[in-house]
């Protein structure tokens, strides 16, 4: 059987998304985390600069860091930096270790594993502080 049908429903003029492999997606994440951390750092320097204004101003701003919502963001930040750093090491290995390019896929899974191993207890400790601060140290 041979048929021809125009597709009007999905008539997206744009092409499909490129189905890249590990290498492409790790890079996308590297970029996203890099940019996020850059903007955070920007803000972070600004708020720290308040120590030059007055202790009160600084403490007020820092107080917002101690709210649970920001604590969650903080977890995100740590996750992002950790990923960025691990993948950064992976990239450097690809750059300078002659076997690097050949094992880049394996390295991707290794950094994913390390990330999880570090983040699970990390999140626990980070959130433990907020939880304790919110509800008192003995629940």
């Amino acid at each position: 059987m041979a048929t021809k049908t125009p597709v009007s429903l999905t008539a997206t003029p744009i092409g499909t998304l490129y189905r890249g492999g590990e290498g492409m997606w790790t890079w996308v994440l590297q970029r996203i985390t890099g940019v996020s951390v850059f903007f955070f750092l920007f803000v972070h320097v600004l708020d720290t600069a308040l120590v030059r204004v007055s202790p009160e101003a600084y403490d007020t701003v820092i107080a917002t860091y101690k709210t649970p919502i920001v604590a969650l963001l903080e977890v995100g930040l740590v996750g992002a930096v950790l990923y960025h750093a691990l993948n950064g090491i992976r990239i450097i290995l690809i750059d300078f270790w002659s076997r690097g390019p050949r094992v880049q896929k394996q390295m991707t899974w290794v950094i994913a594993a390390i990330w999880l191993v570090v983040m699970v207890p990390g999140v626990f400790f980070m959130l433990k502080h907020s939880v304790e601060a919110l509800f008192g140290s003995t629940p």
């Binding site: 041979a2 125009p6 092409g15 490129y18 492999g21 690097g100």
Partner: protein
């Protein structure tokens, strides 16, 4: 003596099944914008996507336009995006695709779209020409051949396989957004000569690739390596060129 003991392979007789292709069409004389169209043709598992396109052109729509020549992955004419990945249509077999779903086929990305699956290859070849892809030997021309050890010959073997199909360059996310980037194929071509022991022109080639749009643009996303139909370790070659630059210049 002459009759060896051999295992005679078993053979199964294949059957044809209907396969649907969703092809991104664009005919500059009639269409404002590209659009998708579905075609269903009967194919054997061992048929190539190129066979399907030939069939569609023969039986359903003669205006479907694509390039092809050799039909077995050696001329580099038919790079296209099949199910979201760059491949050669003549090296992609129906049995290796999930035919329970529609198979999408569209032109490669990042080069100007001319018609259906045809793009303008000139920018691609222009980049290739700029890396001085030819032997630049030094000294007197020998009367016989230049001597090269088997090891020296092996050093650049991988990158001699390139058929300039553009699968790599048009899979590169950097190239999509920055068309001035030389792209992996041009770097592969440079690599082939930089690591040829008979060549003395690397300095000039490295100079070109040290430019803003040269090797440093590569973000090691490996799409090129995954896409290369010749199995060239493209990213590895790019990294070797980067290292050659670093160790020469720093």
């Amino acid at each position: 003596m002459s009759t060896a003991v051999i295992d005679i392979p078993e053979t199964v007789v294949p059957v044809a099944t209907d396969v649907t292709f969703r092809i991104r069409r664009y005919r500059p004389e009639y269409d404002q914008e590209p659009h998708w169209e579905d075609y269903t043709v009967a194919l054997y598992p061992t048929d190539r996507v190129l066979t399907a396109l030939e069939k569609i052109k023969a039986e359903l729509d003669g205006s479907l336009t694509f390039r092809r020549s050799c039909g077995h992955g050696i001329c580099g004419s038919d790079a296209m995006r099949i199910n979201g990945r760059n491949r050669l249509a003549c090296k992609t077999l129906v049995k290796d695709l999930d035919i329970s779903k529609v198979i999408t086929v569209e032109a490669i990305k990042g080069l100007p779209l001319e018609k259906d699956l045809v793009v303008d290859m000139e920018p691609f070849f222009a980049a290739y020409r700029q890396v001085l892809p030819f032997l630049m030997p030094e000294g007197h021309e020998p009367t016989k051949e230049r001597i090269q050890s088997a090891e020296d010959r092996a050093r650049f073997d991988d990158t001699t396989k390139c058929i300039l199909c553009a699968c790599c360059t048009t899979s590169c996310p950097v190239f999509w957004t920055d068309e001035a980037y030389f792209g992996p194929a041009a770097i592969v071509a440079a690599h082939r000569f930089i690591f040829d022991s008979r060549d003395a022109g690397s300095e000039a080639r490295l100079e070109v690739l040290n430019e803003k749009e040269g090797v440093w643009r590569c973000r090691t996303t490996f799409n090129c390596t995954d896409a290369c139909p010749r199995g060239i370790e493209v990213t590895k070659a790019i990294q070797e060129v980067k290292r050659a630059l670093i160790f020469k210049r720093v």
